[in-house]
């Protein structure tokens, strides 16, 4: 089975987000880079599927040259091959991203294309669906369990309050996954060494016109007033009880 997994390089944020002076980008000077938890799980799912079914897994990223790091990380975990759709680092809207991915994989013969449900930074929730529609393939989003029933049939499950929704699907297909579908592995030392020899195909995609144009970023209003400290340790318990009563939850 041939599996493609698409990932996006994003800053690894901690407890604070700072913007650049022009309000256009996140200030990443003190930040590391990573991919979103959903995408880490998509990479893991691709590796597991190939381990179980045979075949090969490919990782693709659209982003700046530095996104090669995130591709290399996926290769170190067990993906065989990388494709970098190299951009100048500017913003690509979901339609342009999907178009570039589709034109890069048109000549390949993937059975399954995996995405994270949404990227950590832009959170547009649509690149996977757009790729599926362009390829004429079925797509299930928000997937937290994926079972392969045969070479052509799979069962995708979504977790909702109160249970699981079941979606049978025919391959080739696009599936967007959520964190929780598996526990991603860490790369082994051996994996890191072999990854250095694996191939990364570098392409320069054409950027189609954006329909959603970013004008700038801003911080949301905090919305909470001054914090009321209720005390320290168990001595605070009477004040907590009083606060619970005041809020009407006790």
């Amino acid at each position: 089975m041939q599996v493609l997994v698409c990932i996006k390089r994003v800053p690894d944020t901690g407890a604070r987000l700072e913007l650049t002076a022009d309000g256009q980008e996140l200030d990443t000077r003190n930040l590391e880079f990573t991919v979103s938890p959903h995408e880490e799980c998509a990479v893991e799912e691709a590796i597991r599927l190939v381990e179980a079914q045979g075949g090969s897994a490919t990782v693709l990223s659209l982003g700046p040259e530095a996104a090669g790091e995130q591709i290399r990380e996926a290769l170190a975990k067990g993906i065989e091959r990388g494709i970098l759709l190299e951009t100048d680092g500017g913003e690509w809207d979901p339609a342009a991203t999907a178009t570039a991915i589709v034109s890069a994989i048109e000549d390949e013969a993937f059975d399954l294309v995996l995405f994270g449900n949404e990227s950590a930074d832009a959170g547009n929730y649509q690149v996977g669906v757009r790729v599926a529609q362009a390829l004429g393939w079925p797509c299930v989003t928000s997937v937290k369990q994926l079972e392969l029933e045969s070479a052509e049939r799979a069962l995708a499950k979504r977790e909702v309050p109160g249970g699981w929704e079941l979606y049978p699907l025919t391959l080739p297909a696009v599936v967007t996954v959520k964190e929780g579908i598996n526990s991603p592995r860490h790369p082994s030392l051996r994996g890191i060494m072999t990854a250095k020899k694996k191939e990364i195909v570098r392409l320069k995609p054409e950027k189609s016109a954006a329909q959603l144009v970013k004008l700038g970023l801003k911080k949301p209003p905090e919305g909470r007033g001054q914090i009321q400290m209720l005390g320290e340790g168990t001595a605070a318990v009477p004040q907590i009880v009083a606060a619970l009563k005041e809020l009407g939850v006790l």
Partner: protein, 324 residues
């Protein structure tokens, strides 16, 4: 015309629908356009029409198509695409739920239009711009949406529902004309999981635990507290990744977004990924032994202390209070 897609599950809707309708109604007033709604789901959804009128909807379409009772995003997108063709609305919007985001993505892909998800504000005019959530809500983006009609989803727990009845009201049938191939993806069935009390999404009180809880065992006292308050237990990404809680209990950007009256966060430092999941909480009480924990800067109430001492003592005090 502004069209709001109404997500129903067996004739029931969540607050997200009323939030989306509230944004739709304000937009309709600003643009001097009528507000309409599409109920494409189960036939029993027709029981909702009175409520839609209360939220300012003057025209409702029902498909009454049995086949749409089980979720089929491509078929739903087809219905909306037909409606767009027939009625030429200026804006189509849905709540930014899993299904709402999915449906509008299908619609946008089918019609090759732009889509702005998770919008908190919409500014119509010659230049149609939106404010939308980024990083799960820790940043806001101003963006321009170029294509017509405008497709957008409304961020959850941001704008409170506000009814304002419509002056006139009419209900129409909309013949979906769906084909077999529109159902290429459809939910085949729902597997119900064992009921475990109040759900995170609906709970009035949520007790959350993070790294400070230490292990699965440590959640026992949090569960006791939640039970006493009629609430639900959740966890940070650390708690779910370590297997202390099932992944479904994760509160955060890649988990559940909660909006209780009170969120009691125990041993959680306050990483962005977590904080954006509880922004909708009316009140937040943070209990952490580290006075420097960043979560204190985003809370309403704070206790500096070890949760392993504070929570059991609090449970004890509440029991005494109730005379147990």
């Amino acid at each position: 015309m502004i069209v709001v897609w109404i997500e129903d599950q067996g004739g029931k809707v969540t607050d997200a629908v009323w939030e989306a309708l509230t944004m739709g109604r304000r937009l309709a007033q600003q643009m001097d356009q009528p507000l309409a709604a599409l109920l494409a789901g189960a036939p029993e959804a027709s029981g909702l029409t009175d409520q839609l009128k209360e939220y300012g909807v003057s025209r409702v379409w029902l498909t009454g198509d049995e086949r749409l009772a089980r979720w089929a995003p491509q078929a739903q997108a087809r219905v909306l695409a037909r409606l767009i063709e027939q009625e030429r609305p200026q804006v189509v919007l849905a709540a930014a739920t899993d299904r709402g985001n999915e449906l509008l993505a299908y619609l946008a892909a089918r019609l090759q239009l732009g889509l702005a998800t998770n919008c908190t504000e919409v500014h119509p005019g010659d230049d149609f711009t939106v404010t939308r959530l980024r990083w799960g809500g820790s940043l806001l983006e101003e963006a321009r949406l170029l294509s017509e009609p405008k497709l957008l989803t409304v961020a959850l727990h941001v704008n409170a529902p506000e009814p304002q009845p419509a002056e006139s009201f009419q209900i129409e049938q909309f013949v979906a004309q769906l084909e077999e191939r529109d159902f290429i993806i459809q939910m085949s069935k729902m597997e119900e999981s064992a009921h475990e009390g109040v759900s995170l999404a609906e709970a009035k009180v949520v007790v959350g635990g993070g790294r400070g809880v230490g292990n699965a065992e440590g959640f026992k006292s949090l569960e006791e507290l939640a039970q006493l308050l009629g609430g639900a237990v959740g966890g940070s990404r650390v708690a779910t990744n370590n297997g202390w809680r099932p992944h479904a209990d994760q509160i955060g950007q890649t988990g559940a977004q909660i909006a209780p009256e009170l969120y009691i966060a125990c041993g959680i430092s306050g990483a962005i990924q977590h904080v954006v999941g509880c922004k909708g909480a009316k009140n937040i009480l943070v209990i952490n032994k580290d006075p420097e924990a960043p979560f204190f800067a985003r809370a309403d109430y704070g206790v500096v202390g070890d949760l392993r001492e504070v929570i059991p003592a609090l449970v004890e005090a509440i029991r005494r209070e109730r005379g147990d």
